[in-house]
Amino acid sequence: MSGILRPITFVLNGKRTSLRVHPLRRLLDVLREDCGLTGTKEGCGEGECGACTVLVDGRAVNSCLVPVAQAAGTKVVTIEGLRGRHPLQRAFAEHGGAQCGICTPGMIMAAAALGPRPRLEEVRTGLAGNICRCTGYEGIYRAIQKQEARSKKQEAKRQRPAPTPSPQSPVPAGRRKRR
């Protein structure tokens, strides 16, 4: 999207991030293309499938429906912000929560917003905006129910900012993982 660029600042995965972007660009595209965080996926582009779910100030949102201007001044957490260490990530890998994996990052972010020990009914309601075509959801429920109680140590680690690439030198999509 060409046209007027505006400076926008937000906290991305614990790190203060400033970008010059068109304010109406989708948060999803800014995360994937400008910030190189391709863990957030696009499944439908109309806010139905939830593959692009990220946390904005702790709430799960569809980043395909959020103009980046709305993220200004917020705290944004993507799947990369969990750094592979969130108990949900291990549980999804071990208990059949992930099959093809394309819904998985969004599913984990939506589940993370539910807190450590959600009841099954809370999970069903909380994930109703995230479509999985592989699992029939049973594997996802099993994973969420089996996530280990988060230890204090893990909790403390989570508070620390996660390393993110310098937003001033955007990393092309797909490159980040190899670093």
């Binding site: 890998a93 992930a98 099959q99 479509i131 592989c134 029939g136 959801y137 594997g139 092309p172």
Partner: protein, 731 residues
Amino acid sequence: MTRAVGRNVVRKDGAAKAAGTALYVDDLTRPGMLHARTVRSAIPCGAITSLRLAFDTAGFTIVSARDVPGRNVVPLITDDQPCLADGRVAHAAEPILLLAHEDRERLLQARVEIGYRPEEPVFDAGRSGRVFKHVAIAKGDIEAGLAEADLVIEGEYRTGHQEHLYIEPNGMLAIPEGGGVTVVGSLQCPYYVHRALTVLLGLPDDKVRVVQAETGGGFGGKEEYPSMIAGHACLLALKSGRPVKLVYDRVEDMLATTKRHPSVVRHRTGVTRDGRITAMDIDVLMDGGAYCTLSPVVLSRGCLHATGPYRCDHVRVDGRVVMTNTPPNGAFRGFGAPQTLFAVEAHMDRIAGELGMDPLRLREMNALRPGDTTATGQVLGLDTAALEVLRAAAARSGYRRKRRAYRGTNRGIGLSLFFHGAGFTGSGEVKLQSRASLELTPSGVRVLVASTDIGQGQRTVHAQIVADTLGIPYDAVEVAVADTARVPDSGPTVASRTTMVVGGLLRQCAAEMKQRLGRLTPAAYLRAHGPLTVTRQYEPPPGLVWDDDTYQGSAYGSFGWACDVIEVERDPVTEEIRPTRVTTAQDIGRAIFPLGVRGQIEGGTAQGLGYALTEEVILREGAMANAQLTNYIVPTTLDTPPIDVVLVEKPYRHGPFGAKGVGEMPFDGVAPAVVNAIRSLGIDVREVPATPERVMAAPRLRESGFGIRDSSVTLRRRQLTVARRPGARRR
């Protein structure tokens, strides 16, 4: 000893997927990369009369049919489908022109004006003048079988299109290199794409390389269509000399790519008064869409499953798949079987109703047993488990008790009994000549196969089979990326064949490698003897004979068997049917990776619930009118009930560790079980999806005894005189 097989190991790709680091095609970029777009037809049928580029073409790469260096086809069974329309179009959303530019905004804004001379389209399969394939199966004497019957019951059953709705839309990245081209993309069958590209581009085999990116679901939807997209990306890449990424958005994916074949299946069944089936006369019609694609094979599988898992001495199946001016239909989980199994299983409940018989009892009486012969004369082996799954699902679900308890309420319960042949039909596996290899690494072995992991767990299952055959740890087995420059052609990742057939080849490779290694560790062997690769090619199990012309012989090496019991609740105001519980018992032979098997069964069941109730493709002028997730409704967490899975493991003696296939079967029986549950509410639905509108419009049945009788459509041969007492069982 099995240390990995049968255990819930950690799936090979689990951690990367959960971390968000697994790379799908849209996550990849290359320096100097262009983005691409496909310009498509706006009419269903006609000639293209003019084409005008109404934009500044500076910086654009533009490709039309004239730029195809090889043959302008997507080669498959018949080469009737052009890769780019040349002068005329046969369906809406047919690709006509390709554009590429480095700026996506400019690409999307580019306007192309196309003039057409429309022709009269054909949308109704029943009126199509072109038959892609005709299949005829005959056993015994159908007229004699009907004459033997006390009662002949007829019925017509319909199924609609279905969209795969893998959550990752289709996409390809093409990179010109080394005088040829490399494509990386979302796909199931690397060698299908490879062959398509050599034909389209006129390049030798070694100048085309196809690599699978992480693939976000397929379900058959990435079996044949990726050949088209890869072709488009390559044409642009070769013309521009730059990498080109072509990724569909959701709307385009739904508008343009393949769907499940709609069907109309007619049954005429003879039964004796005590419930024995004497004759099955079945007519199958499928809508193939504008081009042939895989339709002949879909029809074939549909016809081979059309009788359901029942013994019958006199069978006639007559099937046709025809052309209409709609986007071509193609492979989709089940591959023709869900359509015909829907018909026969809905029909069985109507027969039970006519006889005043418990549908469970009717199925018990007629279910195939070991030693029985199918419609093609295949003698079934000891791994035939129809009765076991039927009884297991009935017992686990409390079917009989609930059937009585729900009478007169808005709750219903229905069941379906079904089977699914694993692997390619008939002689298909022999023709494929699939190969698989194992390569020694310093710390273990590497699996080299063209099978792709599209979420079903191929990497994991293959590693388990190899680990236990070699007697090495699961973690010592690597699985190579499906890359045609590195792996042999193991055939396509379809037809529930990846575990049973390709896994079987790997088991042979591992056994040979174990012998070659002797007492040496992999590292010691490499030091002493140098590199070691073992390759095996498919050979059919002894006694597996099939005749493509007569449709006689062993259609499949083995069948899986399954029974679904589905409970529903009807909203009396909106006529919405909500599934409340699914109990399913499935025999898939030995479960190599039980967690993965469960995932396949649960996921296939959920996809089947969408097919049964909500997923309706609405076509207007031959184009999908609801090509978005807002109004094409797939099951969410709130629409998917608890799914209780019972595994019945009847090992197949020629499968690796006794495994059969599992990918497709879980889908097959869902729609009929749902419709039978609706029938138990006294509502006569014979078409899916059973939307509230269809349920509202459906005839109501009057109850009579245990079963529920139709008021119509039966042709009586002789007067039926059987007492109908509630709960009566007859022997």
